[in-house]
């Protein structure tokens, strides 16, 4: 009788385990320090290079010669050791790992806090730092304290303009920024069944914003069908009675579009309560909301209209960009007056490609609104894709209408 985390890690909550890591990934940001720690460890080569991934997404393409030099070093390292490698423009690491790499029941670590995203597949996926990752490169293993689990019990289905992002923010609002510290979240109940794979990835992505180690969905028919597109045949994971240390209940039908007000992700308010807030930039993308389904939703709202504020759309992977181009989604977005960035993290972390100035307000579909994150003195409001689209058209924060 185990939680999904206990089942995957093969031990009870509170136990310490040395886990075999099935997949481990770094990006161009965290890969630099990982490589430094790796060199200091003095290993001849990675234990299991076929399980390792180096995926460039944070500053793509390189913004200056220092970045270019650091990226070059990682590129050479990946190639010389036979490590899976995705260069600039390939996409966000979490998205790429979700395009048929990670499978249910796997142990996955990423050198990025949002690695919990892959919990959407029923994997135990969590973020680690650079030195921990270097040890994974060296040994193929890492240690965990098996977390206790908080259940997020979902019922109902979306019946208004709310979407997965609003659900994820509602969970954080209930738990607070550290409400799930050291613990895992498990999304259970009838309400999970109607959530798309893309929606689940958005929800699991934000688990870390409540302090959680990971956020897991049990693999079901939706997971199975999604992975079949990548040629993987997987089994459903059937929940069994287990002990949760807490429970959050959400009726999805009750949700309304919300924003997270800076500088905290857990300051969540209805969009309606702040309607009319003047915006300087709208940003759609990231590991939270840059998937095809997101771009499609965005395009269905802005199609045939013009945005009134500068709007940056960054697909989360080359595959998402290709699909958007093939289906006309991209041309509708461009025709509405938006600009398109290289697949990757875009301006989310404030280093590149859409940094905001002092006094500016950005409405973003990303996952963090910390002080100065996207630019010194700027403010970030986090919202759903539909809210971003309706607001881009109005130039001010606007409640989205029901999307057909």
């Amino acid at each position: 009788m185990s939680t999904l985390s206990e089942r995957v890690l093969g031990a009870g909550a509170g136990d310490y385990v040395d886990a075999n890591v099935d997949r481990a990934y770094v990006h161009d940001g965290t890969g630099v320090l990982t490589l430094e720690a790796w060199k200091e460890m003095g290993c001849p080569g990675p234990a299991h290079p076929e399980r390792l991934y180096i995926l460039f997404d944070h500053i793509v393409p390189a913004n200056n010669s220092t970045t270019a030099m650091l990226q070059r070093e990682l590129r050479v390292f990946a190639r010389s050791h036979g490590i899976h490698f995705s260069d600039i423009g390939g996409g966000v690491c979490h998205q790429l790992m979700g395009e048929g790499e990670v499978l249910p029941g796997e142990v996955v670590v990423g050198a990025d806090s949002h690695s919990c995203t892959l919990g959407a597949f029923g994997a135990f996926a969590t973020g680690v730092g650079a030195t921990d990752m270097a040890a994974v490169w060296a040994s193929g293993e890492t240690w965990f304290r098996v977390p206790e689990t908080i259940a997020v019990r979902l019922s109902g289905s979306f019946n208004g303009a709310a979407e997965a992002k609003d659900l994820a923010l509602a969970v954080i609002s209930k738990l607070g920024m550290d409400g799930a510290s050291y613990k895992a979240l498990e999304y259970i109940g009838e309400g999970t069944k109607l959530l798309s794979m893309e929606g689940r990835l958005t929800i699991a992505n934000l688990a870390t914003e409540a302090g959680a180690k990971t956020g897991l969905f049990y693999a079901d028919d939706v997971t199975r069908e999604y992975l079949l597109r990548f040629g993987h045949r997987v089994e459903n994971q059937v929940p069994e009675p287990c002990t949760y240390v807490g429970e959050v209940r959400i009726d999805i039908g009750d949700l309304e579009p919300v924003v997270a007000v800076p500088p905290r992700v857990d300051t969540v308010k209805p969009v309606s309560s702040l309607e009319g807030l003047q915006l300087d930039q709208v940003f759609v993308g990231t590991c939270t909301n840059g998937r095809f389904e997101d771009l499609q939703r965005f395009s269905s709202i802005v199609k045939g209209k013009k945005v009134k504020v500068r709007t940056i759309v960054v697909p989360s992977s080359a595959e998402v960009l290709r699909k958007a181009a093939d289906t006309g989604v991209l041309s509708s977005i461009i025709a509405a007056g938006c600009t398109i960035g290289t697949p990757g993290c875009g301006p989310c972390l404030g280093a590149h490609m859409g940094v905001i100035s002092e006094g500016e307000v950005c409405l973003s579909t990303a996952n963090r609104n910390f002080t100065n994150r996207m630019g010194i003195g700027g403010s970030i409001y986090l919202a759903s894709v539909a809210t971003a689209a309706a607001s881009a058209l109005a130039g001010v924060l606007t409640v989205p209408e029901l999307v057909p």
Partner: protein
């Protein structure tokens, strides 16, 4: 082992973006991180970390997994961090690079003398002694070795 220093008191939910901003990450030059540590919170704070103990509120180090945050604090000369709770990635990162972090709830004023006792698992500050949660055996071993890299090297034949 006893660690001592003057308290630098901070609030809750200190995130890794304010410890070291994303705009300073594209380098291997640790001096740059030390130069800009806590810049967005209080630009004068960085120069007060040498020999100090940070006494903070809940959820210290939340947000990004960037290990540069822990490295910047250590390189700036910080002795230890005491907080009721930490973000889990930051906590592991700190231990992995040999920066002592302990979970405990102590109340004091910046400038108070702080003693962190890693044998008795107590923190004394502002004249009061409070218990802190002992690190797991594994983390104690890593910290004693000076971090994960040193621990790894010491295990090699």
């Amino acid at each position: 082992m006893k660690l001592e220093g003057d308290a630098v008191c901070l609030g809750a939910d200190i995130d890794t973006d304010v410890i070291i901003a994303g705009r300073y990450l594209r380098t291997k030059d640790r001096k740059i991180w030390v130069e800009h540590v806590f810049e967005d919170l209080d630009p004068s704070l960085g120069s007060r970390l040498r020999g100090a103990v940070i006494v903070a509120g809940n959820n210290f180090g939340c947000g990004s997994s960037r290990e540069q945050a822990a490295v910047a604090l250590k390189e700036a000369g910080l002795v230890a961090i005491v907080a009721p709770s930490f973000s889990r990635i930051f906590f592991r990162n700190a231990i992995n690079i040999g920066l002592p972090v302990v979970e405990g709830d102590c109340h004091c004023t910046s400038g108070d003398h702080v003693v962190v006792d890693l044998d008795e698992w107590t923190v004394t500050c502002g004249g009061t002694r409070v218990p802190v949660r002992p690190l797991s055996a594994r983390m104690q071993e890593l910290l004693r070795a000076g971090g994960l890299v040193h621990h790894w090297r010491s295990k090699k034949p």
